[in-house]
């Protein structure tokens, strides 16, 4: 939020987010689901934001979704695409759309997760055309 340019990726890995990033490093997109109420949520939290149960766990998402909305940050060099992707599991996540012709990106477009290098052996889930 402090710059017009896309930040150099600087992951914050803490006790709550570490399994998420370890999953991404292995090519898995993880979301968190609650065993008490059965609902998934994003971003992942220890206590379920739906029912406040502590009985939550990471589960692997299919990696498929559709673009809910997006924007192209034109003044960045190079321009990049920020988007909310609604996953097939029903939750939406902020992400980037990559490896696409940016002027052909559309809301409703089907996309699939891929993982970009994020340093220190970690990877960042991003999306591209399905």
């Amino acid at each position: 939020m402090n710059t017009d340019q896309k930040n150099k990726i600087n992951l914050v890995v803490n006790s709550e987010s570490k399994p998420y990033w370890e999953g991404a490093a292995k090519g898995q997109l993880l979301i968190r689901a609650c065993n008490a109420c059965g609902k998934a949520h994003y971003y992942p939290r220890t206590i379920c934001p739906h029912c406040f149960s502590e009985d939550t766990a990471f589960v692997e998402a299919s990696g498929n979704g559709v673009i809910y909305s997006y924007s192209v940050t034109r003044q960045a060099k190079p321009p990049y695409v920020i988007a909310y992707v609604k996953l097939d599991e029903g939750v939406s996540m902020l992400t980037n759309i990559v490896d696409c012709e940016i002027d052909k990106i559309r809301i409703g477009q089907k996309v699939r997760v891929k993982f970009s290098e994020a340093g220190d052996g970690y990877a960042l889930p991003v999306f591209t055309s399905a």
């Binding site: 939020m1 998934a40 940050t73 909310y84």
Partner: protein, 391 residues
């Protein structure tokens, strides 16, 4: 216990500077406090409550009360909801006065992002401990692209166009031409807006607010104190505040927290959108105004584009005069926080002290609304409804 009629705004001040290279941040707060108290006809020793938000340095009220020498404070509030904080403060001050906790409340905002940038200081700060930070910051969210995604989705669902959004800026520019302090005073056209450079699709440069230094202040008092003052008093009729966020992944960018703060404020004031003669609506970007007007009930959801078109927001021309000071889009967005100036222009309108070219006739009831944080993720929304003595 409601707040309707239990407090009055009796003093306001908008700092005239738009670049504060020669002033410190605490100094701006103090100059603003002095200006607002002078407008009310009160002194600093009359102040028994102080309100400020995250723009105030240090521990906020603690440091500022000491710096300004406010020696009689018995109530403090540093509620922080971003740029809407000062509208929340009006609500909280009204509640505190109604409860008898204080009689004279001072609210100040100041910022110097222009000067800070020139001095090489970091313009904004976002705490890495924020729970969303690890999962969002790697993707390059910034203020513009996070609002842009709202506009993109609104266009997709409702057919809203860039030209319709442009009308919001056009209306603001019509008003700003009469404000000698406005950062941008040139009247612009729809074509000017849609032909300005694309910043983050679909928002153009002229869909974005200005960045300015300065700030503003408000003095609120109990009815007894108000009656002892000569200044035209503006009654606080009702207020509402509401958070809105990504709802654990159930993202909907087509509405704001005004959907909840608005009805609360209208109910408390006992009025409807049809009673509002003038509206100050937070205009960080054109899309902020469009979604807010829908959520406040000035038109149906999805019909905001049609509602704002053809000068409907221009004073003397349209049905709902808005941001007659030029708003954040043209006049002032001090410290990247526009809630304060929204209240100030609403007060001017109810007093009948707006610029004669933009003053709304018989402006007995006005509304001010703020959107703090990001329309594209999490925000604090706040609405206040003000009226004259008869309202």
């Amino acid at each position: 216990m409601g707040i309707n009629g239990k407090s009055y705004i009796v003093g306001i001040y908008e700092h005239p500077c738009r670049a504060a290279l020669d002033k410190t941040l605490p100094q701006l707060h103090a100059e603003i406090a002095k200006g607002a108290l002078a407008d009310a006809g009160l002194s600093k020793d009359d102040v028994d409550a102080y309100f400020c938000a995250g723009d105030a340095p240090g521990l906020g009220p603690i440091n500022m009360i000491e710096y300004m020498g406010l020696n009689n404070v018995r109530h403090m509030d540093s509620t922080e909801t971003g740029g809407s904080s000062y509208i929340v403060h009006v609500n909280h001050a009204a509640q505190a006065i109604a409860a008898g906790h204080c009689n004279v409340a001072l609210i100040t905002l100041a910022g110097r992002p222009v000067a800070d940038a020139k001095e090489g200081k970091p313009v904004r700060y976002y705490n890495q401990q924020a729970p969303d930070f690890p999962f969002e910051m790697p993707y390059g969210p910034n203020v513009t692209n996070m609002y842009a995604m709202c506009a993109m989705r609104h266009m997709y669902e409702y057919g809203t166009t860039s030209e319709q959004l442009a009308w919001i800026k056009v209306a603001a520019s019509h008003h700003a031409q009469y404000n000698e302090h406005a950062r941008l005073r040139d009247v612009v056209t729809v074509e000017d807006v849609v032909n300005s450079p694309m910043i983050a699709d679909p928002l153009h440069r002229l869909d974005c607010c200005v960045i300015t230094d300065g700030g503003g202040g408000i003095v609120m008092v109990s009815p007894e104190v108000a009656k002892s003052l000569k200044r035209t008093r503006v009654k606080v009729l009702g207020a509402g505040e509401a958070p809105k966020h990504l709802a654990a992944g159930q993202v909907d960018l087509t509405y704001s927290g005004a959907r909840w703060s608005g009805p609360k404020a209208f109910a408390e004031a006992g009025v409807t959108p049809a009673d509002i003669k003038y509206a100050s609506v937070y205009d960080s970007f054109t899309i902020t105004v469009l979604e807010t007007l829908e959520d406040l009930g000035f038109c149906k959801k999805g019909e905001g584009g049609k509602f704002v078109s053809d000068g409907n927001l221009i004073s003397g021309v349209g049905k709902l005069p808005f941001n007659t000071d030029g708003g954040g889009l043209c006049n002032n967005h001090p410290g990247n926080r526009g809630g304060m100036t929204k209240v100030l222009e609403a007060v001017r309108q109810v007093r009948g002290e707006a610029h004669p070219k933009v003053q709304v006739r018989n402006c007995d009831i006005a509304l001010a609304h703020g959107t703090g944080g990001l329309l594209g993720s999490r925000m604090g929304s706040a609405t206040v409804i003000l009226g004259n003595e008869a309202a």
